[in-house]
């Protein structure tokens, strides 16, 4: 096993626990604890595991939550700064001011409930992509410059797309992401 997660104890106390035979110890809120389990090793690279566990450690401290959110906002700022010249091969319009603002609003809202995006990047489809990971599921959200919003949930292990569709409003987007972190998906 790569890591254990404990609730209501600090990281310092956790490492002093007897019979603890893991390489990394993380402390996380209850809602995040089940991210860490032995199955993690099957579908995440070592770097990804360290990144995941690292982010959980940060979640224990409100100051660090603010820091993570600030890093995400900085990333959006950098994307905005890159403008239309982010792609090395050709001119692909960058995200519009409207999309930038919308993305900031979404990630700030989610951060208030301890949900943090795993990756923010630009889409070849002209807009911003947000990627969320919950166990073996990945949620992709893409906010396009023309106002469309697309999302997709995939099971990385079974290589199946579970849901794919459009959303129309800020509330729908936020609710979809929250549901993603709370729902158990059945994959045939």
């Amino acid at each position: 096993m790569i890591a254990f997660a404990y609730d209501n104890i600090t990281a310092d106390k956790a490492v002093e626990l007897p019979n603890l035979s893991c390489d990394i110890v993380a402390v996380a809120p209850v809602s995040q604890v089940d991210i860490i389990d032995e199955n993690l090793t099957y579908y995440l690279s070592e770097d990804e595991i360290i990144k995941q566990v690292g982010s959980l450690l940060h979640l224990s401290y409100s100051a660090d939550k603010k820091h993570i959110l600030q890093e995400h906002l900085n990333k959006i700022y950098r994307i905005k700064f890159q403008g239309d010249f982010w792609h090395d091969d050709e001119l692909v319009p960058g995200p519009s001011i409207k999309v930038i603002s919308f993305t900031k609003r979404v990630i700030s809202n989610l951060a208030s409930t301890n949900i943090f995006v795993n990756r923010i990047t630009q889409s070849i489809e002209e807009g911003i992509s947000l990627i969320f990971i919950n166990k073996e599921k990945t949620l992709f959200f893409e906010f396009y410059n023309d106002g469309d919003i697309g999302y997709l949930i995939e099971d990385r292990i079974k290589r199946k797309i579970i849901e794919n569709g459009e959303e129309n409003s800020f509330n729908e987007v936020v609710n979809r992401i929250r549901t993603f972190f709370n729902q158990i998906y059945e994959v045939s």
Binding site: K51, I120, E125, F140, L152, R159, K160, I161
Partner: protein, 172 residues
Amino acid sequence: MKFPKALLTGNRSAKPKHRINSKNYMYARHVPSHDWDMSEGYPDITKIKADQSFNWSAYSIPIWTRFNDVKKYREDTGIAGYSVKTIKNTNAINSKFKNNILELEHLPRENNYSHCQLSGLKTFTKPERLAIRVTFKHNWRIEVKPNVNINTRKLFLDILKMYIHRIYTKLY
């Protein structure tokens, strides 16, 4: 790397669509974007284009995909191989789509005889295109990572593979 003469089109004509065999691969050159880092998966599904260009495995080895239209070698790019079977049989991974919704056409360019173009993706909505891009990802393989060169052994094996893939196009 020296530009391979085998990529030049010369007097050769384009092959019909049915010659693109399901066992073939399509190689694409992907520039790691400014926000990509080594710990993240490569390439990124957010970067696959609706009209993606490919090098056909029957007439190109992966590393040759690094040459652009003006024969410039882009060592900073990585090469991903997409299975033609996956591109054609999208229904197998995503039941929302029928098979053969996307087309691959052999469109040789002066400095790239192996050049193929994906079409059909633009007719879908953006969320549907997102699903197709994710579908592609499931069976891709990373042939060459960015800023990495291949050794002589791999070069030899890739050339051998190219000729085998060319035989596939004639058998079916």
